[in-house]
Symmetry: C2
Subunit: 906 residues, 2 copies
């Protein structure tokens, strides 16, 4: 059978490195595609081939090995043997191969790997000739251990227990110190474990080892932690993984060997220059799992100048070829450099902006491409606050600054505790010796992560960085005792689990207690303040790319604000108006009693007069700040009961009064009134336009406040541009009613002042029925603003508050929701209504104004949807305005596929 | 300018009777079209012409007389003068005309009329020659009065006050007894009122009278009571009214004159034979307003045999021509019969079924046409209960049985009181001297209506019949005193307002106190019971037309039921299965504590076991009754809190215990648990599939109950057909989860019994998101059932309970809602989602089962929508099953326009 032929015509099930390239990541996985690309670039990549994702999907579909796959693998193996000059199972000089997972999207540590495939009783002597007895038996030990755990499903702790016993016997601290005899005994002992646990031994046929290792990697696609990770990262479950079968090279064959992981630039700061960790006489796993202390890459220049020069040359080649930050794994075997893996490297948000701009300056990419390389999530992370003044808070430890930002919380020592406490609403800092993929739920739950061991490329560091969790790794001063549930520092301080610490992921410092938190430099700079030293390449990058986004975007960005400080912040952050001024702000706090008086009919006219004056004062402030820009004033929206006393509390008060003989007619009367207005589902009750219909004086008083505020400012020479928005409209007649009242008041106020006043009146589209009848609504509305919070609530029939405490956790745990529809707009349901309303509203009124003012207005993915849907602007809380600006710009330079698909099929 | 030409090419603004026919009702109004039709039939209709609805719409659009209209009216007037042989304003023999409203749909008494147009100072003498001085001055008096009120907007009470003073002076009891001199003085007095009130006199140019009367009738289209009536009846606001300008003929010119109103059959019972009221020497208004006692039509045969013979001949002509019950107004002037108006007559529900079948038997129509002539609202009315045994309840009065059915409530003496009490939830009987169009809100609000004066064609009778309100008119024994707010009977009983009476609209009797109520004969007959005398033409008609509907309909009718009595009733009423078996029924009453134990973790397993056993017992009963028919079992749906104690009550109990030193740890613990599960909006919270995800044992126990119940019955040789429905699904993953659990349990139970069991699993589509993602849902659901109650709730963001107490009343009063979306399906919003889900669900799965199980399943209009939308079945409460059957059949024989429009544009 010819190489590359598959039982079905396409796609191929097996492909050599030399026959692929990086455009084939869907089929080859990211790792395989990049190995193929490097092979084509002439980099020293070990020989190998890829069993493709197509073969994996076939396997997962049928649950058994696809017929013909073994023959294909054998054919490619023959070529590998020819190229490498070694044969699998050759007693004289055996070929050993690694069998590694590698899907379309990186899932660090989530799936399985089997190394050293090809060691058998027969090949040990030949292997010993390559690297010594100890090396040969260590390879055998590793193979039995990994094969046992991964292929046969034996509990890994059984092996670890034997290893620990051996270390104790020899009084050594790590496995690298175990001698050949001990390793040989461990191989025998591990093989007995296999026999005992599953009644099988390691196959002595190397091809059988290979065959079963490949299938085991396929199967690991569906282990729970991998599924959990995919849900977290939004990776589809049906992609499958490729398997890379690669000639083993060894960094642990002596002092002229070693392994390392490096980046073409600093992935934390974005600074230029090769950057990484190196571990002499070690395999790559030893670097990644953080079990031994690495040395900085720069020291390799002294240890092995030739290898260092070759490596830095390769790094330059890769960065120029990929036109981006790359990360690279390499091994040096007896002075020969092998590049084992590369990919476009993960980076911190700060590095993303700095690198993107640096690549523009270096002429490798243009500004559009730079804009594609950053995103709103990253910007949002940069806008997160940082630890403030730490004086008075003992420095507990300093580790590596693995993921920037600040996190404060109670120490939790395992991921179950961290997740449980987080569910209880507590802020948690996960503190671990080192992390494994099993710790993922704890990292998700924590405000920050600290590990005592590991480097910047350790599991904890990579995962935390990807999620924007502040993270400090390698804080070696910390000793964690899971028996007593304490953490002890070198200085002798002992923390109990539950004590509070503050983590600075930017500096790598961990402090005792609750350190106050400060805004980020980027946020300060965006707000127009100077940075500490005046030169901050990250803030520079953010401002530059924001400016480019502003130049590109067609969609406006407004802010949701109703106070003077928020309005000022909104302008500083670049808001082009207010998309949502909530009039209920006027009636918060002690002022609630004004509404109560209105409802209970107590000095009603005076209450109305006061409401009007307060509203007018609030409006004047915000309209003045937003001089010349639109300010959308939403008429009173919340359920009436939010302004009334709590029924249960009041009922208890009255009952206790009764029981204890206290007379309180006032409380009795209030209770009666609250009962009369009580609703079993206030979200679906008397609120928004309904409350305005029942208490139309509230329309009048608010409309008058708008008119008077605007005319006051106009008299002072300003250009106020208020708009009035009617909430919770389900039927156009509601809008007609309120609009008529608003316009009558506006006309009356204008007439009083012998002038005219034109104020657009629009509708907040936040009920499915409004969207479904948008063609009619548009006939009587000047604009629509999508209130996607409430629209999500009714489209899903789900109250956010109740859902969070009630069942959303269960849903997340069971993977029932791909994402939280309250955070990221549900395109299929809510988004469909938005698109429909845009289309049908514009059909009725081509000049209809269209905006979004729910919290989704500041969510990066949702912003891109709103752009694709054709809105004129989005509106969000002031600190998210830069995020919305960036994403609105990115929407214009990203491939139109996503937006186009939304726009076409909805 | 030529007659019939209008400034715009079409439609015409003015048309002669001779040039129209009854197909032109949109343009000519119903009254005008029928006058034209009768003119073509050769019936003795007075000469006249019609100013069309097109002219009215033009007038309403611009708010002023359309240019050119006066010239057109003049041209047609010239022809009228030629045909009638009299001229307007001719001092010798003046033509007088009536100017009457007449829209597309009958709105009895809602709009204005001006009679006797053409009387001036100059024409009084000529008029006196026709009918005497008294007649002439009475015409003048009427014209000034109507013109003043209608055209000039003068308060009618001012004229009534003068009339009352004149009657008092002359010591006579009604206006017909006023002499010529007095009437002449009244004309002068009325004209002074005009001058005083509006500074205008009655124009002495008859053409100016005519011109302004026409415009005043146009304007009356928009008086509040007309708008209110249109909202009640669902008549569009933009149709406008036509105006009939007709030569006056007089029934009050002496003993050989008179006026009457009659029907071709009895509109109450449907019995064959001319039937009506006649009033000698009177105008038509005197008959209709009930101010004088009429005589039965049959007595006309003695008074004026020739006129009677002519009239009955005309009635036969009309019924054969219209192939339906007609009502007719006529006047006899000095022995000459004039037919003034006809239309297809309103009738009781009972008469509708009887007449439709009689016309089939007479060969005038076929069964399809008969089915078109009845509707579900009428059938529903016939299924309403009737007054039961009245012994022990004094008979207060007997009047005319104007609208059948029974109503019990507190006496209210004006419409404001009736409406106010009804809003407070009280049952009200409106008792009035006579009713006017202003009383409409009171009639709407009342359980029954009683008037002391008036005939079967009086306002109260017509309106109440149209609405299905039981009504007794002409109960002359009652004296109503609005001063003391009492009603006194001839026998001397005095009732205070607020006392309870029972009204039998079928027999015309009013009883003191609360009479028990019995089911209707039709309902009894439908349920398979015999009627009292064995021959009941109404029940016969209902059964016959239901049978025809069953033969015609393609859509199945199921019932919502979960108890044995309901299931039995459902089968008797013809249900073809159960569309909604609510499992929560099992957990009502004392059994609620089972759920509480589940939640509070108290003897949990035992609680689950009991829930399962109870559910199984309920299911066995219903599946047995429905042997061979589908039974859709909905898994537990209500919010969890409905099974837990009330938070406020429990909080009060605990607080009072605390305050009084009582120890109750049990209550404390329950309060803590209830607080933990408390939700601010339970409708949007932990319910339906969400509760099932959180407490999956509830899925298992219910699935097991279904499986065991079905297999128990199968073991007894029956053919149980349960289906399982999952409520409140928003996302297909929810259904996948529950479906897997259900199917695992079904398979396990089947395996235990060494058999197999196939149970379809479907989804209740009751959230907008389910409808919007129905294409995906259908991939994992065997059927959809639309839960339109909840779908309405979320689409509108409106809880029915909260809305009813909170704002729906305001909405109705202000006309914000054309109809209650919880009663009649909101086609534009909710219906659009239903149509979308049908289309996209079937696209995914062509054999997808489709049903509706909300309360709309028994609403006539909604049933026709569901048929048009393409559902397989509707399901409703058992008593509404016949209504759904009838409407499902009618949907097939009605013009496809309505359904087709829905299906196409959604």
């Amino acid at each position: 059978m010819a190489v590359n032929a598959t039982p079905e015509s396409s796609p191929p099930w097996v492909l050599d490195f030399a026959d692929g390239d990086r455009s084939m990541a869907d089929l080859l996985g990211g790792k395989g595609a990049n190995l193929a690309e490097m092979t084509r670039l002439g980099l020293p990549v070990p020989h190998g081939f890829i069993v493709t994702t197509a073969a994996c999907r076939e396997y997962l579909r049928h649950g058994s090995e696809p017929p013909g796959l073994t023959a294909l693998v054998d054919a490619h193996l023959a070529r590998l043997e020819r190229d490498s000059g070694r044969r699998l199972g050759d007693p004289a000089d055996p070929l050993l191969v690694s069998v590694r997972s590698g899907g379309r999207f990186s899932m660090p540590g989530m799936m399985e790997t089997v190394l050293d495939v090809g060691v058998t009783d027969d090949t040990v002597p030949g292997l010993a000739r390559r690297g010594g007895d100890r090396f040969a038996w260590d390879c055998y030990r590793r193979l039995v251990q990994m094969y046992g755990r991964t292929v046969l499903g034996v509990d890994g702790a059984l092996f670890e227990h034997e290893l620990a016993a051996a270390r104790a016997t020899l009084q050594v601290s790590h496995d690298g110190e175990l001698d050949a005899l001990t390793l040989r005994a461990l191989v025998a002992s591990f093989r007995r474990i296999l026999q005992r646990e599953v009644g099988e031994d390691l196959p002595q046929d190397p091809r059988e080892q290979l065959r079963r290792a490949v299938l085991a990697v396929f199967s690991s696609w569906n282990v729970p932690r991998a599924r959990f990770y995919r849900r977290q990262e939004g990776i589809p479950d049906d992609l499958g993984t490729a398997v890379n079968v690669v000639e083993m090279v060894y960094g642990n064959t002596g002092p002229r060997s070693g392994s390392g992981v490096c980046f073409t630039r600093d992935p934390a700061s974005g600074e230029l220059g090769a950057y990484g960790d190196y571990l002499p006489n070690a395999q790559g796993e030893d670097v990644v799992n953080g079990s031994r202390a690495t040395i900085p890459l720069a020291q390799l220049a002294q240890l092995d100048p030739a290898a260092y020069t070759a490596l830095t040359g390769h790094l330059r080649t890769l960065e120029e070829h990929y036109r981006d930050l790359c990360d690279v794994e390499f091994t040096i075997e007896d002075g020969t450099l092998w590049v084992l893996q590369t990919r476009v490297g993960k980076r911190t948000a700060a590095a993303a902006f700095r690198i993107a701009c640096a690549l523009v300056d270096e002429g490798l990419i243009d500004l559009d491409e730079a804009l594609r390389r950053v995103d709103g999530h990253q910007l949002s992370r940069l806008l997160h606050p940082q630890l403030g003044d730490t004086s008075g808070h003992d420095l507990l430890a300093t580790g590596l600054p693995a993921s920037p930002g600040a996190g404060v919380g109670e120490v939790a020592l395992d991921h179950e505790t961290a997740a449980r406490w987080a569910r209880e609403g507590r802020d948690v800092v996960l503190v671990r010796q080192e992390t494994s993929p099993d710790d993922l739920p704890g990292i998700v739950a924590a405000r920050a992560v600290v590990t005592a061991r590991g480097g910047l490329t350790s599991h904890a560091a990579v995962v935390a960085r990807g999620m924007g969790r502040p993270c400090v790794v390698g804080a070696a001063d910390l000793t964690i005792d899971l028996e007593t549930r304490t953490v002890t520092t070198l200085a002798g301080t002992t923390l109990a689990e539950g004590d509070t610490v503050s983590v600075d992921g930017t500096s790598g410092r961990v402090h005792l207690g609750r350190v106050p938190v400060q805004p980020s430099a980027v946020a300060t700079r965006l707000a127009g303040g100077a940075t500490d030293n005046g030169t901050d390449p990250v803030s520079d990058g953010v401002l530059r790319l924001l400016a480019h986004a502003d130049a590109r975007r067609r969609v406006g960005v407004r802010a949701n604000a109703e106070t003077l400080p928020d309005a000022l912040a909104a302008r500083q952050y670049g808001a082009e108006g207010i998309g949502l001024f909530r009039t209920e702000h006027t009636l918060l706090g002690e002022r609630r009693e004004l509404v109560e008086r209105l409802v209970l009919d107590r000095e009603r006219d005076d209450a109305l007069r006061q409401i009007g004056e307060l509203a007018r004062a609030d409006l004047v402030q915000v309209l003045e700040v937003m001089d010349g820009l639109p300010v959308v004033v939403r008429l009173l929206d919340p359920p009436l009961h939010e302004f009334l006393p709590d029924l249960t509390a009041l009922a208890v008060e009255v009952a206790v009064n009764d029981a204890t003989g206290v007379e309180d007619d006032e409380a009795q009367a209030r209770l009666a009134a609250v009962r009369r207005w009580h609703e079993s589902n206030p979200m679906l009750g008397l609120r928004g336009v309904r409350l305005l219909a029942v208490l139309p004086e509230l329309v009048d008083v608010q409309a008058r406040a708008v008119a008077e505020a605007a005319l006051d400012l106009r008299a002072r020479g300003l250009d106020p541009r208020p708009e009035v928005m009617v909430p919770l409209v389900a039927e156009s007649a509601e809008l007609v009613l309120v609009r008529a009242r608003v316009e009558a008041v506006l006309a009356a106020v204008a007439a009083e002042r012998r002038t005219t006043l034109r104020v657009p009146v629009g509708v907040m589209v936040e009920l499915p029925r409004a969207a479904l009848t948008s063609g009619r609504l548009a006939a009587v509305a000047d604009f629509f603003s999508f209130g996607t919070n409430d629209l999500t609530q009714t489209t899903w029939g789900m109250s956010r508050d109740d859902a969070e405490t009630g069942f959303l956790r269960t849903y997340r745990e069971q993977g029932l929701l791909a994402s939280d529809p309250f955070s990221t707009l549900d395109v299929d349901g809510v988004g469909r209504l938005v698109s429909l309303a845009v289309r049908e509203g514009r059909r009725t009124r081509p000049d209809l104004g269209l905006g979004a003012c729910g919290e989704h207005g500041g969510d990066p993915d949702s912003v891109r949807f709103f752009v694709a849907a054709g809105l004129d602007y989005v509106s969000c809380s002031p600190p998210r305005v830069p995020v919305a600006r960036l994403e609105a710009g990115r929407a214009e330079v990203l491939e139109p596929a996503a937006g186009g698909a939304w726009a076409d099929t909805r």
